[in-house]
């Protein structure tokens, strides 16, 4: 049990502290950092999917007036560590995927850098490449672990036996598309290398964590942490793609070190982001579910096939939610990876849970249909009392309440019959569950200082649009028992105490815990009347840590889908979510997180699809005109509600993390509603009109 903070500022829907600066355009993003006399970098990319660079002719680029340098594997400095081959930029002639960095041009203007990059002539020795994921790919292998450190396979009981004898079974294969994170702000940086300075490298970078970013740079370049400062006050979205640095960060540092004393700016173009900034692997999910006559699950199994790059393993933990979501005595989960000549997959909002709540939640809908049971009721009947995987009790689990409240708010009981037609549209409704684990990182420190009558809290946290600038003061205010206006929080700089990545929905849980430790210690040490300059640093590892419970946030999503009877066009006029995600620190920013996640889930359901062209080894539709993201006109009435959940086991705030759960389950709810509307079951995402057209009257 944790001593929960008494909520006073917590729970208030305060406006974003950074909102005005962003709206006015005065918030400074990494690329815009005002610096003297910057140089600009533009990458040169490989035009083959596998092979070697045989020759790079940089003479025409170098001859261009205003070009300062052209770096290639032939003249770039040797890096201290090339262990992470994604980050080992310009170290060898080997090409492991199309679009890989093979050079960079530095010039006086961004236009000249781009023109120079165009003039670099690269010759390749091309080899046969293999970039197409298939369910029976000959090179499929079992990784040692899946992200971040889960068992690759699990098994309990006998799924096959249960499938053979159960009253109702579903055995189907589902697939999710390759998707790219596409934050609005591209991956962008400004880097300055001043060899004689006390801190020789200053890096303004768009990142989800300045300290992890710095650690990666130090590793690659063999620098001490004291030699590097990373600054990032604002991030224009990341969705995981800025959670660990990608090659562009190493490239800009490499470039800066080649131009000592001059700041170098590098922003990836939207097209380059489709090669260099990570993406979610496509997944193929073979599901088996079995139930008895009453709808009690007898078995649930998921066998996942997905891809990784040949040069770096990334094993999306797609099967993990199947391990804990529902009570079934026989369970199996497996993951197999195909190592391909493709860009390196990486983190994407709710890695594991997002794709992993598609197959199972559609399979349950198919099972409910086979049983003649309401899909809400089926989920309620299979709500486990303890975590099926570990046997631990839940810290709190209110999925059933979310389903019931959602059904009530949505009007589920009065939903139209299957294949209901309203004018030109077929109308259907669908439901799916949501889940996301409640995490806290091991390392984060916060400093509390009394300064001219106010409390200053310093922590190197990141706000990627999530609300950290706003909610951390609320936590600090309650931990210090002062009005929130008396608290100033400073984040986004490695000069501040170390902080963990804004990822895994763990930011608020982790940083808030560190702040609470520091604040309580501050009060213990200095009482209610501190003197100017009094300060204390607290660490998250001092915060109470519960290991006796399985901690997750849960939710239920309800979708109304309309399918045009003539054209198969799909619309989602209503999408409701009810979440049990612990105590909500700030309802305003929380709502934004929930509906943002749900909208991204809608986008995954209907639109997002990086169409892989295996002939050339790249995403064919690599820009935002052709890679469709749900636009405003596609978004109807999206509502997020949450239960007033009290969880004394997770942390001092009672918060569970809300950045990712909203995207989980949404696509399944939409697919299930499409089926209800049309009788057509689409098992591969996204649901596009051509997949339903043939089944329409």
């Amino acid at each position: 049990m944790t001593d929960l903070l008494q909520p006073r500022a917590i729970g208030q829907g305060l406006v974003r502290r950074d909102g005005e600066a962003k709206v006015r355009g005065t918030a400074t993003y990494a690329y815009e950092t005002p610096v003297d006399h910057p140089a600009y970098a533009h990458p040169v990319q490989a035009a083959i999917a596998r092979g070697r660079v045989t020759r790079i002719d940089t003479s025409a680029a170098e001859a261009l007036d205003g070009v300062l340098a052209v770096l290639t594997h032939e003249n770039a400095e040797r890096l201290a560590s090339t262990e992470d081959r994604e980050l080992a930029v310009l170290q060898s002639p080997e090409v492991a995927f199309r679009g890989q960095l093979v050079g960079v041009v530095l010039a006086e203007t961004s236009e000249l850098a781009r023109q120079g990059a165009d003039l670099v002539r690269v010759s390749f020795a091309e080899e046969e490449h293999d970039s197409e994921l298939t369910v029976d790919h000959p090179a499929l292998y079992k990784p040692d672990k899946v992200n971040p450190s889960f068992e690759t396979d699990t098994a309990e009981g006998d799924v096959a036996a249960a499938m053979a004898t159960a009253h109702a079974t579903v055995e189907q294969t589902y697939s999710t598309a390759m998707v790219h994170n596409n934050p609005l702000e591209p991956h962008a940086s400004t880097a300055l290398w001043e060899p004689g300075a006390q801190v020789p490298l200053t890096l303004w970078d768009s990142t989800q964590g300045v300290h992890p970013d710095r650690a990666a740079v130090c590793e690659v370049f063999g620098l001490d942490e004291e030699q590097v400062r990373v600054i990032c006050p604002y991030v224009g979205g990341g969705f995981g793609s800025k959670g660990t640095p990608h090659a562009n960060v190493m490239l800009v540092v490499l470039a800066a070190r080649a131009l000592p004393g001059r700041p170098v700016k590098l922003a990836l173009t939207r097209q380059q982001m489709f090669f260099l900034a990570g993406y979610r692997t496509p997944t193929i999910q073979r599901m088996q579910v079995a139930a008895d006559r009453t709808g009690r699950l007898q078995a649930i199994a998921i066998d996942v096939v997905e891809q990784t790059s040949r040069i770096k393993e990334f094993a999306e933990q797609t099967g993990t939610p199947t391990r804990m979501m529902y009570a079934a005595p026989n369970r199996r989960t497996t993951h197999r990876l195909a190592p391909l000549d493709v860009p390196v997959p990486s983190w994407f909002r709710a890695p594991g849970e997002c794709p992993g709540m598609f197959g199972p939640e559609v399979a349950l809908d198919e099972l409910a249909e086979a049983l003649g049971l309401d899909p809400v009721e089926l989920r309620i009947r299979n709500d486990p009392e303890v975590d099926p995987e570990t046997g631990k009790p839940w810290s709190s689990r209110h999925l059933v309440e979310c389903l019931r409240e959602g059904a009530e708010r949505f009007g589920w009981a009065d939903r139209p019959p299957a294949r209901h037609r309203d004018g030109d549209w077929f109308v259907g409704t669908g439901v799916a569950s949501s889940v996301y684990p409640t995490m806290r990182q091991a390392t984060s420190d916060a400093l509390v200082r009394f300064e001219e009558g106010r409390y200053v809290v310093e922590i190197g946290a990141a706000d990627l649009g999530t609300g950290a600038w706003t909610v951390l003061p609320q936590i600090a205010a309650d931990a210090l028992d002062v009005p929130v206006d008396d608290v100033e929080v400073r984040i986004g700089d490695t000069r501040l105490p170390q902080a963990s990545v804004a990822g895994g929905s763990s930011g608020t849980n982790t940083w808030g815990s560190a702040i609470t430790v520091a604040a309580r210690e501050f009060r213990g040490k200095f009482g209610a009347e501190p003197r100017d300059g009094d300060e204390v640093t607290g660490s998250v590892d001092q915060a109470a840590k519960d290991t006796e419970h399985a901690a997750y946030a849960f939710g239920a999503q309800f979708a109304e889908v309309r399918v045009h009877a003539d054209t198969g066009e799909l619309r989602v006029p209503r999408l409701y979510g009810v979440f049990a995600a612990g105590r909500i620190i700030n309802p305003r920013t929380a709502r934004s997180q929930f509906i943002g996640g749900m909208t991204m889930g809608l986008s995954m359901a209907l639109h997002e699809n990086s169409v892989w062209d295996p002939r050339i080894g790249q995403v064919a539709n690599h820009d935002l005109a052709e890679y469709h993201i749900t636009v405003n006109a596609d978004v109807g009435d999206v509502q997020a509600y949450w239960l007033d959940e009290h969880d004394p086991y997770v942390n001092a705030m009672g918060s569970k993390g809300i950045g990712e759960i909203g995207i989980t389950g949404t696509a399944a709810a939409v697919v299930n509603a499409v089926h209800r509307a049309t009788g057509i079951r689409v098992r591969d995402l996204p649901v596009t009109l051509d997949k339903v057209l043939g089944g329409l009257p």
Partner: protein, 338 residues
């Protein structure tokens, strides 16, 4: 990206002269397509001649009861014009279905129909493309063909190495409506003025997929004339796409029904807006029943060639086009009955 010279001549005639004498010159109007292509390296002109202020921005009544759209009028302005909305709803609807508010504020009457055909491979200079680099081949065949042509292509899976192969589609919604309206294009060129029926402005790839239109180098559109429609005529534009806004058409239909006369133009189906003349001939004078329309479209699409490719190819366009035409004409007919 490559540097280019930029000029703003004082008159349309001067602009035409400047472009005519420089093989690497292009006109710039709204820039919504050209500027993208400059950044992507798809367009590599030596000289960009800005004509934004050199042609009329007015929408004026013609003596025959039609309208003249000055080439510099923006898509937003044409859409907002009451005469256009009342007399040519198909055009207003087509314009509103295109792009986004920001783009429609920039795109012009003269420029919109001259946007290049759309293809992800055309836009990617690292791939082979006969349109971009004549003779280099076509990457789209057997690739991502979802948005590609099924009409005006010789076969399913044409030879990707043949220099004439191109299966791109023309993306302009406006052009599909103007095709159905039998608009006339007023052109100023080095050899003087000429008028081109809108339906003849765009071309099929033929032996020269690099050419999207019949305009000669240096020819500038100065206006587009809309002939009057018979009284009682009704028209509509229906665009089917992958999301509700800001997406190119999978299939679109511009339809005009005027008494016995039926006009149908299709977008998203070919290298040019596709006038469904065979279907029109079958439907003219007859009752517009769903059965009759579906049959007429079947005849029209007999020659259609579904293009296999990633994500299942584009064969769905054939039933989709028929269904969309049926729905559009059903709505127009129902409107007439009200």
């Amino acid at each position: 990206m490559k540097p280019f010279a930029y000029t703003r001549p004082g008159s349309a005639a001067e602009a035409v002269r400047e472009v005519a004498v420089e093989p690497g010159a292009v006109f710039l109007a709204g820039g919504t397509n050209l500027v993208d292509h400059l950044k992507l390296g798809v367009a590599r002109p030596d000289l960009v001649v800005d004509v934004r202020t050199l042609t009329s921005r007015e929408i004026t009544d013609l003596p025959d009861g039609g309208l003249r759209l000055g080439a510099a009028s923006t898509n937003s302005e044409v859409t907002a014009d009451r005469r256009v909305r009342e007399r040519y709803p198909v055009l207003a609807q087509a314009l509103l279905a295109g792009a986004t508010g920001q783009l429609r504020n920039a795109a012009t009457t003269g420029g919109n129909p001259l946007q290049r055909t759309r293809c992800v491979y055309f836009q990617d200079v690292t791939t082979r493309c006969n349109k971009r680099e004549p003779g280099s081949g076509c990457s789209a065949v057997g690739g991502y063909t979802r948005y590609h042509a099924v009409l005006g292509v010789g076969s399913a899976m044409p030879d990707p190495t043949a220099p004439e192969t191109c299966i791109a589609t023309h993306p302009s919604d406006m052009a599909v409506a103007l095709t159905a309206l039998d608009a006339q294009v007023q052109v100023l060129g080095p050899a003087g003025e000429r008028t081109i029926p809108f339906g003849e402005l765009h071309r099929l790839p033929g032996d020269h997929p690099s050419r999207d239109t019949v305009l000669e180098h240096g020819e500038l559109i100065t206006a587009v004339d809309l002939p009057p429609l018979p009284s009682g005529a009704r028209s509509a534009y229906r665009k089917v796409r992958d999301r509700a806004s800001y997406a190119f058409a999978l299939v679109s239909v511009a339809a005009v029904v005027a008494g016995e006369d039926v006009r149908i133009a299709l977008g998203g189906m070919a290298h040019r807006p596709w006038r469904a003349t065979r279907a029109e001939a079958l439907l003219t004078g007859g009752p517009l029943t769903e059965h009759a329309v579906a049959h007429a479209m079947e005849v029209e699409l007999t020659a259609a060639q579904p293009q296999p490719g990633l994500e299942g190819g584009n064969g769905f366009k054939i039933p989709l086009a028929t269904r969309t035409v049926v729905a559009t004409l059903r709505d127009l007919t129902a409107e007439a009955l009200r």
